[in-house]
């Protein structure tokens, strides 16, 4: 028989807990209740599913540009009109244009080659965000053939996978997605078996 203690958790609070938006004090009271209330735990599981589905669905649906929205949808703050905002934006663009022409590749992601040797202690290589050409040191690995390479983020979700080629004691693979800042793991598979793992920090 489930044991309940105190009032159940309100749906809004449960949703904010699911999304990690509660303060420490609020988290404490929610988690204490969840320890003893099966009903609220079931509600939280449903909430998690809803939030995950909403995030995925909203990420997949193309978002209409702000300027495409009818003007009545624009918020009005402190007496500013939409016309003034557009004028200021135009001035800024015209002012910034010469600078952007001078530095045309300012925001273009950079290509970097990074050598990963071993997942040992804090000495994981650090690189800047951008495209990565991975060189995975594989001492003792001599069997020719192709290997699978996977890039995992800090939550354990795979971000990219591809084929690597063994050459002179290294497996090389080019990550075709832009890698943003964070802590990552690079996994090397042979015939579906994990044979090496490397740490990588992107700052």
């Amino acid at each position: 028989m489930p044991y309940s203690f105190g009032p159940h958790i309100e749906p809004d609070r449960l949703e904010r807990y699911s999304m990690g938006q509660l303060s420490e004090m609020e988290i404490a009271s929610v988690e204490e209740h969840l320890l003893v209330c099966a009903g609220c735990r079931a509600d939280l599981e449903q909430m998690d599913e809803f939030v995950a589905a909403a995030r995925q669905a909203l990420a997949d649906i193309p978002r209409k540009a702000q300027l495409d929205l009818p003007l009545e949808n624009f918020p009005k703050h402190h007496g500013w009109s939409v016309g003034k905002a557009i004028l200021i934006a135009a001035v800024l663009i015209l002012t910034a244009a010469p600078f952007s022409l001078w530095r045309p590749f300012w925001n273009t992601p950079i290509h970097q080659q990074v050598l990963l040797q071993a997942n040992r202690g804090p000495d994981t290589p650090q690189v800047s965000p951008g495209y990565l050409d991975l060189r995975l040191a594989t001492p003792g690995l001599t069997e020719p053939g192709s290997y699978q390479v996977q890039l995992i983020n800090s939550t354990g979700s795979p971000l990219w996978s591809g084929i690597g080629a063994l050459h002179r004691g290294e497996v090389t693979a080019a990550v075709t997605s832009v890698v943003s800042s964070g802590q990552y793991w690079v996994r090397l598979f042979a015939n579906g078996q994990l044979i090496r793992e490397y740490g990588l920090a992107v700052r």
Binding site: Q21, C37, I61, E197
Partner: protein, 249 residues
């Protein structure tokens, strides 16, 4: 229960010894089997503020005195919640061991008199669980750094299994149907909340909404999502009925 009590006497959580899984299962399954036996009435099962606080005090005192039914009651109250929390934080691996470890720590702490306020037993259990989660994560990070032979290392796959992946995809498709029925403005509001993780206050200020309007929009979306899910489930059940009927023919 006797084996569980013996484990307390040895005063070492399982994680230190890596006791065999079957022994852990026997301890906790014995507790679960004995749930079916008649239990004396426990006052704290009744609601009531004063009754609640004295009930926690009674439970803690009984555990402190080594009362086995009290330990079983503690297990009954908290085991599912602890398991839920651990699974959410660490995944489903070795849950029985971890639940057992936490119970050993909690009971030992109570018996050593470390719980100064018995009314805060829930908070105390939560604190122990969180510290154990931190310790497990720390252990995993260190073992990954120090492990020399990856072939012998078990690295659990944190991705969803294929069934979960399909289930999520179905829910996402339902959600897209819900979102397609909304206006662009309503969809923008939900995008800011669920995807951009803006707070309710920020969204209401930017989009000129009241709190009530914001909550209504979310509850409408959730209700529609639940309605579509139920329709889909009913349709699937109907299809199964027709399939069964056609097979019988």
């Amino acid at each position: 229960m006797l084996a569980f009590k013996r484990s307390l006497e040895h005063a070492v959580p399982l994680s230190a010894h890596r006791r065999p899984q079957r022994e852990v299962v026997s301890i906790t399954s014995r507790l679960r089997r004995e749930q079916s036996h008649d239990k004396p009435d426990v006052p704290f099962l009744e609601n009531g503020e004063d009754g609640q606080s004295s009930a926690w005090t009674t439970l803690v005192r009984q555990i402190h005195d080594g009362d086995e039914p009290a330990m079983e009651q503690l297990y009954q109250i908290f085991s599912q919640g602890i398991r839920f929390y651990l699974c959410r934080q660490l995944g489903p691996q070795e849950l029985d061991d971890k639940v057992h470890d936490i119970f050993v720590i909690v009971v030992q702490a109570i018996q050593r008199g470390e719980l100064r306020d018995p009314d805060r037993l829930m908070g105390f259990v939560r604190t122990v669980v969180r510290r154990q989660v931190a310790a497990y994560i720390d252990e995993m990070v260190h073992s990954r750094r120090e492990e020399l032979n990856l072939e012998l290392t078990f690295l659990p796959d944190s991705r969803r299994n294929p069934e979960q992946t399909v289930a999520l995809r179905q829910k996402v498709d339902l959600m897209k149907t819900v979102m397609a029925e909304l206006t662009d403005r309503d969809r923008e509001i939900l995008t800011r909340f669920y995807l951009n993780e803006q707070t309710q206050e920020e969204i209401c200020q930017d989009m000129d909404l009241s709190d009530t309007q914001f909550r209504l929009l979310k509850s409408r979306a959730k209700a529609r999502f639940g309605e579509l899910g139920r329709k889909k489930l009913q349709h699937r059940q109907l299809v199964q009925v027709f399939l069964r009927a056609s097979v019988r023919k």
